[in-house]
Symmetry: C2
Subunit: 393 residues, 2 copies
């Protein structure tokens, strides 16, 4: 890894996005950050507390991840952004020499922290660890992300749960636009563009089409390096999410990356790529791996189920990932059943391998002008479902 660090740290290229190929709304692209290139469409494993849970950093890289996500809310509380900065930044701290994207912290301030008071200026909240008081504003969020040394930073926004009244959706959307501008000013005053880093604005507007369009268009007038779609996958049906994407992405700049935050299942990802999305993150593959669930080419497999207890077959013998091809379902079932750490390690590994395999498949298909065919085939494979139970002869 060390040669790469040196080579990549030396780059001073500006943040950039190249659109390489399209098929319908699906896009194949490449983002350049201070820590290398990100092939899109990209899935970004979540490394909440400066670690992709139950994985060594090199394993994550070897699966084909070009970028991982860090959570500003968690890191600002422990070990704190200032401490990470003192120790040389998040890349060095967590042993990940490739691109890092950080969220603004806003989503978790809303969902995890205690007492909150929100004003135009920002949010005062208390830590879920020890109740200590903290203040988060658009400026402070970008400051923290700068201290972490994040390559792709997010503006602070307000994300509300659905369903919600139109007036409430509109208020949060307008506030998010004002916060986008303040975030941009902070990012530029910190020299983010000169460092080759990027700041993404976040489209809000809930499930209200005209608000989504207004948000996307007005955000597009700000000179961001990329644009996120926020406030989806927060409880609404998949059909609503996809409908919103169909309305939103055409109103977003064509020459900048588009990131759908917190999404999703393999099917969510495939269908969102078909609607013009380039970047994804989700805790599903890692969290599911810690709960006995495996993603495979043929859908989801629940290893807790007793049907696997004497099944000598691996999860997927054709997988390039050892976790999928080398260990029997019976062994995985045993590990999950007795709550052994290796169960979480192997299933997380398998799941991230599957997600990266899916993304590589998507990228290859767009490259070769057969994304539509790939999409149909992939959905057929999922529909086929898992193997029949094993029968001992």
């Amino acid at each position: 890894m060390s040669e790469k660090t040196t080579e990549q740290a030396a780059t001073t290229k500006p943040f950039s996005f190249k659109l390489l190929k399209t098929e319908g709304m699906a896009r194949r692209g490449e983002i350049t950050t201070p820590h290398g290139k990100v092939r899109t469409p990209a899935f970004m494993p979540v490394g909440t507390q400066a670690t992709v849970k139950a994985m060594y950093p090199q394993q994550v890289r070897d699966l084909g991840a070009d970028v991982v996500l860090g959570n500003t809310y968690h890191l600002m509380l422990r070990p704190t952004a200032e401490r990470i900065a003192k120790l040389g930044g998040l890349h060095k701290f967590m042993g990940w020499d490739h691109t890092i994207l950080t969220d603004s912290g806003g989503f978790q301030v809303m969902s995890l922290s205690g007492l909150r008071k929100m004003t135009e200026e920002g949010v005062t909240f208390s830590s879920h660890h020890d109740g200590s008081k903290h203040f988060m504003s658009p400026e402070r969020s970008v400051e923290i992300q700068g201290l972490l040394g994040s390559d792709i930073q997010m503006q602070l926004d307000e994300c509300i749960a659905l369903p919600a009244e139109r007036s409430e959706v509109e208020r949060a959307m307008q506030l998010s636009l004002r916060w986008a501008e303040r975030s941009r000013n902070q990012f530029e005053s910190m020299g983010g563009p000169q460092k080759g880093q990027g700041l993404y604005g976040i489209v809000q507007g809930g499930d209200v089409p005209d608000l989504r369009i207004e948000s996307a268009q007005r955000l597009g007038e700000l000179p961001m390096e990329g644009y996120s779609v926020g406030g989806l996958a927060v409880g609404e049906p998949q059909a609503v999410m996809l409908k919103m994407l169909e309305i939103t992405t055409p109103a977003m700049p064509n020459d900048k990356p588009r990131y759908l935050m917190g999404v999703g299942t393999p099917e969510d990802i495939l269908e969102s790529v078909a609607r013009g999305i380039d970047q994804f993150d989700c805790v599903m593959p890692t969290r599911a791996g810690r709960h006995g669930l495996a993603y495979t080419r043929f859908g989801k497999v629940n290893l807790k189920n007793a049907r696997h207890s004497e099944d000598p077959r691996p999860l997927d013998e054709e997988s390039q990932c050892e976790a999928a091809s080398k260990y029997s379902r019976a062994y995985l079932h045993h590990l999950v059943r007795v709550n052994e750490g290796l169960g979480a390690m192997l299933l997380t590994w398998n799941n991230l391998a599957y997600y990266q395999y899916l993304m590589q498949g998507i990228r290859d298909a767009i490259d070769e002008g057969r994304f539509e065919e790939f999409r149909q085939q992939t959905k057929e494979d999922w529909a086929r479902g898992d193997l029949e139970p094993y029968v001992w002869s």
Copy 2:
């Protein structure tokens, strides 16, 4: 790994032990089992439930382990010995193609299970999982170990806590001798010797010198492939344990491997090698790794301690193990503090690496006739202690 499997599975050599070199009582040797060679003195990582906790099997192998231990008590309850046999045996089940040693299950029947009734015939006990009733006898223990396909099997014995009355120590020692004979008969009736497997008898006798000697001598009359020292490291001071070893090992056969069960700290191991022991197992390196404790050349380091919170230095920059040389103490502290699985993964890796490094050092030193020097130097390093706290300039 697969090439090795084939090669090793094909061997039909009898179980053997070669004594290669000695220095004082310290011995350098080599055990041959159906799954390869075991360089002694050897430390055997504990894989209680068919996994060395928080480690991939290949990592354990890459650290230099020739043998891991499986716990009969745990495996007979979940997933059961019969199921593992159906699936091709423990080696295949857990993805470990090298030597496996199993205990008899007796120790954990005594320490973990519920209601127990002990007779000359065996022990009836209830599972700590669900209270279900089970019966364990010398014959059943060897039967289970045969079903698992264990290369090095242990007789069922009775291990009592110290301090204890002489009469109680003697009763348990005599019972263990009768059980050794029954275990041997079962092992031979199952064709263990023809399969190249070994059965070890277990010396008991508590902290009573003449009982230890009697146990060792009478056990030595049975044609076992190796001999264990049981009933030590059960609460007595280290000095008592070492004294018992000084009395016991000279009474044990010289041409067979000697295994000190459940021991111990690095110092216990070094001092026990100096008293003629060849094999060790202990949960310390793995358990400590899950509790924020690291073993290094300079003693034990508690990563929970706040002194590490801003320390950019690795645990030991000269270590060959990435867990020790690549990650900062500050990062390890953070992972332990926020209870991330990667913390347990890295510290377990570090600890097993240190234990294997120590064993390799011991073996090289005996090979080169400088064990005594190595022993002194190693103890001086431990006494030096860990680095001074880091000071930021």
